[in-house]
């Protein structure tokens, strides 16, 4: 399971060298390196990771959103999972944007498969992917006017008093 051809340190070092000072945070969680970057460089970074002859992380596994309402100014996040099929190395990239101005560059021009994944992320979190060819709802109905995976929308009726969050979850 752990016979990666790269160690997390070498990957982080190589990325930090190229994007000096732009990596906000990095940590290794359950054997996957996670780096957090500014939303302005995600497009550039993902393209470079795909083209780089050594890292060659050229398979896009997943794009997803995440919402942290208490992180003011950085409420919405986009999580990318990349995979180098030759090296069998997985990398997680995160970027956070404010809920008022949730713009992230689209990567459809790098991975055509990102199209629906970005649409899904827009559909559920309202993250706007700049440069996406067809950014519209995909799984929810067209005339929906909110983004249901945001934390302010609870699954059950908020006015119920008999169900306490401490006992019945969020």
């Amino acid at each position: 399971m752990s016979d990666f051809t790269f160690s997390h340190e070498t990957v982080l070092e190589r990325i930090s060298k190229k994007f000096e000072g732009l990596i906000i945070k990095s940590d290794v969680s359950y054997n996957i390196l996670t780096i957090e970057v500014e939303s302005s460089i995600t497009h550039q970074l993902i393209k470079w990771l795909k083209d780089d002859s050594i890292l060659n992380l050229s398979f896009l596994t997943l794009i997803g959103g995440i919402h942290y309402p208490e992180n003011k100014g950085k409420e919405l996040g986009v999580v990318y999972h990349l995979h180098g099929l030759e090296s069998n190395y997985r990398l997680r990239i995160k970027t956070f944007v404010s809920i008022e101005n949730p713009n992230v560059d689209s990567i459809v021009d790098i991975y055509v498969g990102a199209n629906w994944m970005e649409r899904e992320t827009f559909d559920f979190f309202g993250i706007l992917f700049v440069g996406h060819p067809n950014l519209c709802r995909i799984l929810n109905e067209e005339n929906m006017d909110y983004f249901p995976m945001r934390k302010e929308y609870h699954l059950e009726d908020d006015t119920r008093e008999d169900k306490d969050d401490r006992y019945f979850g969020r």
Partner: protein, 410 residues
């Protein structure tokens, strides 16, 4: 000829004018509920005659908000949700989820559980591939093979019933292992299956794989090349049919897959015939894996010993032991604290890399759970694959991609 004209008898077979027949490009609304789509898929196609010029899909007809539901459910209550993703191979989804949680909580899974899981997951893969391949046969007009293998599929479902009591939406296994060991009925049924299935399967194979009509219909139908497939994020048999040998079972072995000897079949052209052949060979390899796992099934416990706060204690102990009563209550009420962390775990599902991205903030439910649903990702490539093909080939391509509506829409 002249006689006919004098008597004003029409010479063409249709009363439609030549302009109507040759002139326009028609828009065809194919689906959402159409008998040839095997699920709720809508394709709006521009067609010239029966040739597809372009098409656009709409998805989401059976969206059930699983990711949102999961944010309010304790971990063990999420397993039934995963049943309803790819419902042709529910056990793979169930166990993929269980393994994700086990990774997060650091459960030490006994070897016996790994092997038991491998047997169940490979049976599920066989069931999944049998449905897909026999339906390709149906769409080419060969119905008998479908009837024939559904009998075998029923035997697999009977085995699931022996293990967990359910057939389709199985909710099989528990976080930490299984709720009980394999029963005698399961052993008997598995032995009978291993003895009889290969023969029945080869008979099915001989109906189609060298059948001239079948080959003519499926070869060069809905092709995609390896580079394009990778860009679209194809995984599983559909990617392997293009010649890329990416299989999660080998790349990132889980559940002791590294112990077994099997090959990853790959295709060349990435067309419907190759997808069919890859799945056929995968069924043979699955049988090989099941035989290895069953013959070497290790002795030991059928559940993890180090996670009493996640695995339900035996009912006798609940009545007599204080700790067991507490654990029982906490598990049933979903009150067990979970470590803070972020996990990505993937398994080789029936259709490709089925991933679980789980973010835990230590609460009783996931903070965020996202499923990597292979169908959703590769179905984007469908319009490109059918452009320039006929409508009947588009139907074949759709069934050979094995797009499952439950997984597509989550």
């Amino acid at each position: 000829m002249s006689d006919l004209k004098e008597n004003k008898i029409r010479t063409s077979h249709t009363s439609l004018s030549k302009e109507t027949i040759d002139g326009d490009i028609a828009t065809l609304n194919f689906g959402p509920t159409h008998p040839a789509t095997h699920g709720i898929f809508q394709n709006i196609m521009k067609v010239d005659g029966d040739k597809v010029l372009s098409s656009e899909q709409t998805v989401g007809y059976i969206h059930r908000a699983f990711e949102k539901l999961a944010e309010r459910r304790p971990y063990n209550q999420i397993t039934p949700i995963t049943d309803r993703l790819n419902y042709c191979s529910s056990p793979i989804n169930n166990m993929g989820w269980e393994m994700t949680v086990e990774k997060l909580i650091g459960a030490e899974i006994p070897k016996r559980v790994d092997y038991m899981r491998v047997i169940i997951m490979e049976l599920a893969r066989i069931a999944d591939h049998l449905v897909c391949n026999s339906v390709i046969g149906v769409d080419t007009g060969a119905l008998s093979g479908f009837m024939y293998v559904f009998q075998e599929r029923k035997k697999i479902y009977e085995m699931f019933e022996e293990v967990c009591g359910a057939r389709l939406t199985t909710n099989i296994g528990r976080i930490g292992g299984f709720e009980r060991d394999f029963s005698k009925g399961f052993h008997d049924k598995l032995k009978a299956f291993l003895a009889n299935f290969p023969k029945a399967f080869e008979e099915f194979d001989s109906l189609l794989s060298r059948n001239r009509i079948f080959i003519d219909r499926t070869r060069d139908t809905g092709p995609i090349n390896a580079n394009r497939a990778l860009e679209y994020g194809f995984t599983g048999p559909n990617l392997r049919a293009t010649g890329i040998d990416y299989d999660v079972r080998v790349m990132n072995p889980y559940s002791s897959y590294e112990d077994f000897d099997f090959i990853i079949p790959v295709g060349v052209n990435g067309d419907t015939y190759d997808r069919f052949m890859v799945r056929q060979e995968e069924i043979r390899q699955s049988i090989r894996i099941i035989k290895q796992a069953y013959n070497n099934l290790p002795e030991g416990k059928y559940f993890a010993q180090n996670i009493p706060e996640f695995y339900l204690p035996p009912k006798d102990d609940v009545y007599t032991k204080m700790e067991s009563l507490i654990y029982h209550f906490k598990i049933v009420m979903g009150e067990t604290p979970v470590p803070v962390g972020e996990v990505y775990h993937s398994v080789e599902g029936g259709n490709g890399e089925l991933g679980f991205h789980l973010v835990s903030d230590g609460g009783r439910t996931p903070y965020r759970l996202q499923f990597r649903r292979p169908c959703f990702i590769y179905y984007q490539g469908y319009p490109e694959m059918i452009t320039g093909q006929t409508i009947s080939e588009a139907v074949l391509t759709l069934s050979s991609l094995n797009v499952i509506a439950g997984e597509l829409d989550a």
